[in-house]
Symmetry: C2
């Protein structure tokens, strides 16, 4: 099946409900490729068809609905993933993205190496028509439900029109894969007022407000939100540039780990603390389950012609399975088509010819 | 004593060890002006001379070494602090900053309304010679010692040369007021490598590296640091733009509150949880004391001709007292002179005439 003929090519065709296959790069996971294969078995048991790309010798006997392509070469840890993705045709992520581009699979999961996934995805799956920049969207697991932050690091430089597109992309992800009926979308700033923020944020706020006032957005625009809203209830989707998003993400991890470390220290410093920690542990189980990042499947690579999901390398089989289930759901619910249609309806597509290297490659749509 | 004749005017003169007076705006505190006056009594007991500006009727009988100027008008909650500071001569913050400008006091503490403090400070105390932009520096209370983040919101737009000056300003604060012998200074980015970050961050990294390589910085330059390093041990001072700094600050507050709320919920959901929480509470007391923001006195307003300290409006007398003690220490150790000398030695001062409104006011130096 060629990409151009695919029913979920983002051209508004209905999606074939039965044919969604997920291509999975098994290299890069902290626990090794076998843990990803174990995740594939769990996903297959939930009805997902998977093609694994990794070292066949380590992946064991594939489960039903799981196919293995022997691809032992990994560029997940490369210092220069762009060059590596361009030059290493045999790398598992390159083979997986080519399988998606060729229509052999309808979505991508990459178990390690976000940089390699992004580069190989751009080269092979290619940027979606009318998109300036792909973005990494991360649904943050929170007690009241996920808040999706994007971009968390696909681009280091953002312009107004990029942030505007991120709003549409994040909303489409939330309304399909994450099941939020009409997502509330906010823009991360240092104050709620329209005048607050860097010049970039002020410009993006003005354009999103203008579009929302004109009824041209398929989401509820809530305007600027602040740092604490990232873990609050003010928005379902929060838009920011990739550098700020990445800083926010790592800061959250740092703060949680500092606090958990202090609690652990307190709960081991004395008999009294130990007893207290043990008693509280059971009560905190529900909270720990709510904030488990594996439940969200990982970060979502948006803006390519197919959906990509990048689970964290430290995930267990449970998280890898969730990534595959959600990648399949995204393909079946046509998140790519939704993004493309909503941008087209809003007239927010990129019109100029692409100047980036991938533009010189032959377009398949 | 006129500002120009002051021994700590930033011109390299030795500082009079005995004459440091702190002007304090009492309006804006959540617990009311009397709580600030109670803080002044504590600071006075530690040897600090204080002039309070606030509603005399609410401040009670002043302690020894505390003077009261009746100034009941507050602009702390103004929506437009710039206009309010310009037009409201009788406002307590305007009177306090004018007292500092006139040499009646050598440092400022403002108990509420960062915007008003910044505006009145710029109008009356004025920008330090050679400084592009003032910055708000916040020492974050952490178990391993404070990490100072700046700017946390004085400016919404930053240029390369601003971030470079923030590095010098933060280092001078750390080495005087915070007692760090040779501060390690980092630049907040989305990766440690020099090429990582927004174009602004990449440029600032290059200039700071060039200056450090040439031996022209009075601190240890550690290069880029990441989001988790804000609560880590990689640097004593972390430089960022005011929007990112403000987002980081509020995000930290949000994450801590979410986690503490979950623990509180767990510790009240069952008898077992309650018992666990009670037993753990004592063990966590040391941690809670280490991360108490009141211990750091608040945020430091750097880049004016005198040091300003802005404690959080929700502080108690303990935090307000700490702000006054540290403001006095900053004046006595001449943090302003240190900033000015280190920038002059490095040739990193602003050379062009100031174009901002305050430039049209008569210079007092």
């Amino acid at each position: 099946m060629a990409l151009g003929a695919s029913p979920s090519s983002g051209l508004g065709h209905p999606v074939d409900q039965a044919a969604q296959v997920v291509a999975v790069d098994c290299n890069g996971a902290d626990r090794g490729p076998a843990e990803v294969a174990a995740g594939a078995a769990l996903a297959a048991a939930r009805g997902v068809r998977v093609v694994l790309f990794g070292p066949a010798a380590e992946l064991g006997e594939p489960a039903a609905n799981v196919e293995v392509v022997d691809a032992p070469v990994s560029i997940a840890k490369s210092d220069d993933p762009v060059s590596a993705a361009r030059r290493t045709a045999e790398a598992s992520i390159v083979q997986a993205t080519k399988a998606v581009a060729a229509g052999r699979a309808q979505a991508l999961v990459c178990a390690g190496g976000t940089g390699a996934a992004l580069a190989a995805g751009l080269f092979n799956i290619k940027r979606m028509h009318g998109i300036y920049r792909p973005a990494l969207a991360l649904p943050l697991p929170l007690p009241r439900g996920a808040v999706t932050l994007l971009d968390v690091g696909a681009s280091a430089e953002a312009r107004r029109e990029h942030l505007v597109q991120f709003a549409f992309m994040g909303a489409a992800l939330a309304s399909t894969v994450l099941g939020v009926a009409r997502p509330r979308v906010g823009l991360l700033s240092n104050g709620e007022e329209a005048r607050r923020g860097s010049p970039l944020v002020v410009e993006a706020h003005a354009e999103l407000s203008r579009r929302a006032d004109a009824g041209g957005v398929p989401f509820e625009w809530v305007g600027n939100v602040e740092g604490d809203d990232v873990v609050g209830a003010a928005a379902d989707v929060i838009v920011t540039d990739g550098v700020t998003g990445n800083i926010a993400l790592k800061l959250m991890e740092g703060v949680s780990q500092t606090m958990l470390g202090a609690i652990r220290d307190a709960a081991s410093a004395s008999l009294r603390g130990m007893l207290g920690g043990a008693l509280l542990r059971a009560a905190l189980r529900g909270f720990r389950e709510q904030i488990d990042p594996e439940l969200q499947g990982g970060a979502y690579l948006l803006g390519l012609r197919r959906l990509g999901v990048v689970p964290h390398g430290r995930f267990t089989r449970k998280g890898f399975a969730e990534a595959m289930v959600r990648a399949e759901r995204g393909a079946r619910e046509d998140v790519v088509g939704q993004i493309q249609r909503s941008l087209a309806d809003a007239g927010a597509q990129r019109e100029a010819p692409m100047s980036a290297p991938v533009a010189s490659l032959r377009e398949t749509e």
